[in-house]
Symmetry: C2
Subunit: 284 residues, 2 copies
C-alpha cells in the first residue's frame, strides 16, 4: 500500500474501532491509505502476534506501538512480580510484532500512598528496562490524565514521566534510550507546564496520540472525541512535539461509543479527513 497524501505518519490505534478483528483493521487501514497501526494486546488473543505481524508486513504497513504494558503497582510483592512477568510477555509480543514501542500505563494508587505507588512504578520500569533493551523494544511512559491517578496511572504529567525516564536512563546505562515518554493530547492538553515539559522531553518522545476533549464529557473512560470535535489545539501541540525532534507516527486513539458503533471504513474516512484538517499544517 501507498500512504494517502499527507498520511505518512498516521496510525490507527485499534481502540478507536470495533466490529472486526485485527486482520480486518489492517485491511481497512490499507484501503484508507493509513500506513501505521497500533494494536492493543487483547486483539492478539484472536490473532496471534506472528500472524498479525505477517499480515501487517504483507499490507506494507508498520506497527507504531503495542498497547499496553505497565500496571506496576500492587499491594504485595507476589503480585508485583506477576505484573513484571506480564510486562516481559508484552515486550516479547512487541518484539514479535516489530513494534518499536511498548506503551506503559503505569498503574494506580495502592494503599492510599500515591508517593509510594510512584516509586513502585519507577522501580518496575527499571527492572524490565534491560529486558526490553535486549529485544530492541522501547518503553514509552504515557502520563495519564489526573482523573485516572487513583485507578490507572499515578504518572499524571509529562514533566513527571520525563523526569522518571531520565532517572531510569541515568541509573541504568544499558537502558539508555530505551525509556521515553508518549504524549497523548487527551491526557496532557490542560497542563500549564506543557510547553516547557515538551521541551524538556526533547529526544525522549516515543509517540504522539491525537483525539479531542469533548464537553460535556460523556464518560471518564469512553469520552474521548474525534479530532476537531473538542477543545484541544491539536495543531499547536503537534507542532510543539515536532519541534523537539519527534518525527514518528501519530496515532489516533479515540474511545467513544458513538464511533465504535459505526462501520470501520466510515470511522477511518472521518479520521483521515480530520487529521488533514486539524492536525497537519493547512493545505497550501
Amino acid at each position: 500500500m501507498k500512504p494517502g497524501a499527507g498520511l505518512e505518519r498516521l496510525s490507527l490505534n485499534t481502540a478507536t474501532v470495533r466490529g472486526t478483528d485485527l486482520l480486518g483493521m489492517v485491511d481497512a487501514c490499507a484501503r484508507a491509505g493509513i500506513p501505521w497501526i497500533a494494536p492493543w494486546r487483547h486483539l492478539l488473543q484472536e490473532v496471534p502476534a506472528e500472524r498479525a505481524a505477517r499480515a501487517i508486513r504483507d499490507a506494507g504497513m508498520r506497527v507504531s506501538s503495542l498497547c499496553r504494558g505497565g500496571f506496576f503497582t500492587a499491594p504485595t510483592e507476589a503480585e508485583r512480580q506477576e505484573r513484571l512477568e506480564d510486562n516481559r510477555r508484552a515486550i516479547d509480543e512487541a518484539a514479535t510484532l516489530g513494534a518499536e514501542v511498548l506503551v506503559l500505563v503505569c498503574g494506580g494508587v495502592v494503599d492510599k500512598d500515591i508517593r509510594g505507588s510512584r516509586q513502585m512504578v519507577e522501580a518496575g520500569i527499571a527492572v524490565v528496562g534491560p529486558y526490553a533493551a535486549e529485544r530492541g523494544v522501547k518503553l514509552g511512559i504515557e502520563p495519564l490524565h489526573p482523573m485516572f491517578a487513583a485507578d490507572r496511572s499515578v504518572v499524571n504529567t509529562l514533566r513527571q514521566a520525563n523526569d522518571m525516564a531520565v532517572r531510569i536512563g541515568d541509573a541504568d546505562a544499558g537502558g539508555t534510550g530505551t525509556v521515553g515518554v508518549v504524549v497523548d493530547v487527551y491526557h496532557v492538553w490542560w497542563d500549564p507546564d506543557l510547553e516547557d515539559a515538551i521541551e524538556a522531553s526533547r529526544g525522549r518522545v516515543l509517540g504522539f496520540h491525537v483525539n479531542d476533549w469533548i464537553v460535556p464529557l460523556p464518560d471518564v473512560l469512553e469520552g474521548r472525541g474525534m479530532m476537531g470535535d473538542g477543545h484541544i489545539e491539536l495543531r499547536r501541540l503537534r507542532r510543539a512535539v515536532d519541534a523537539v525532534g519527534y518525527d514518528g507516527p501519530i496515532e489516533v486513539e479515540i474511545f467513544h461509543q458513538g464511533w465504535w458503533a459505526k462501520p470501520v471504513d466510515e470511522v477511518l474516512a472521518t479520521m483521515v479527513k480530520r487529521y488533514r484538517e486539524v492536525v497537519l499544517e493547512p493545505a497550501t
Copy 2:
C-alpha cells in the same frame, strides 16, 4: 454555640447537603457543634444575605467563604463585563455575610484557546481585586481538577493559581494580600508537584477543602466522596497546608447524590466523625 471537641476549624460547605435552606443548615451546624459555614450564592436567593448573616451570627458561627465568583472567560467583551459585574455583586454579598474569602472558579476554555483564556482570567481578577480589597474581602483562586479545564476552570494546578496570585499582587499594590489560593484536595491531590506548590503558596493560602476521591468515579461533577472513603491522604495534605502557616477553617465540600439523599443531621454526624478520624491528628 460551642464547637465540638477538635471541631474549632470545621466548616460545612453548603454544597454537601440538600433538603433544607441556609437557615436550616445553620441550625444543623449549631446542633452538631460545627462553628463555620460556607454558603453557595444560590442559597441567598431564598435567604437574603443580611438575614443569613444575622442567623449565622446569632448562632455564634462564622462564614469561612462564599462560593463562588469567577467565570471570567467569555467570547465577547460585553459578556466579560457582565461577568465582572457579577463578581462585584458576589464581593458585596461576601462583605454583607462577613465572609473573609470569595472563592473563585475561574472559567473554562473560550475559542479553543487555553492560553488566551488563562490571560482572560488573570486580567479579570486584577480588575476586581481593588473592589474586593476596599470591602475587606479576599479572593481565593481555587485551582480546579484538570478534568474541568474545558468547561469550568482553566486554572488547574496550585502552582499556576499561586503564580497568578503573586503576579496580580505584585502588579497591584492596593490588592496585595487580597488575592490568594484555595486548596481543595479533590482538585489537587494527584499533583506530583503538590508539596512544592504548597510550600510556594506560604502566606497566600486562603482556604482548605476536604472530601475524597472515590473509585470508580460515580460522576465527574457529582462524584466527590466523604473523607475516608477514597484514595486521598487527607491528614498528610492537611499537615502540609498547616505547615505553611494556614490555620483557618477547613471546609467539607462533597458533591454526591448518596449524601444529598440523607437527612442533614446524619450527614453532619458522619462528617464530624470522619473529620476527627482522618483529617485531624489521631486522638491521644
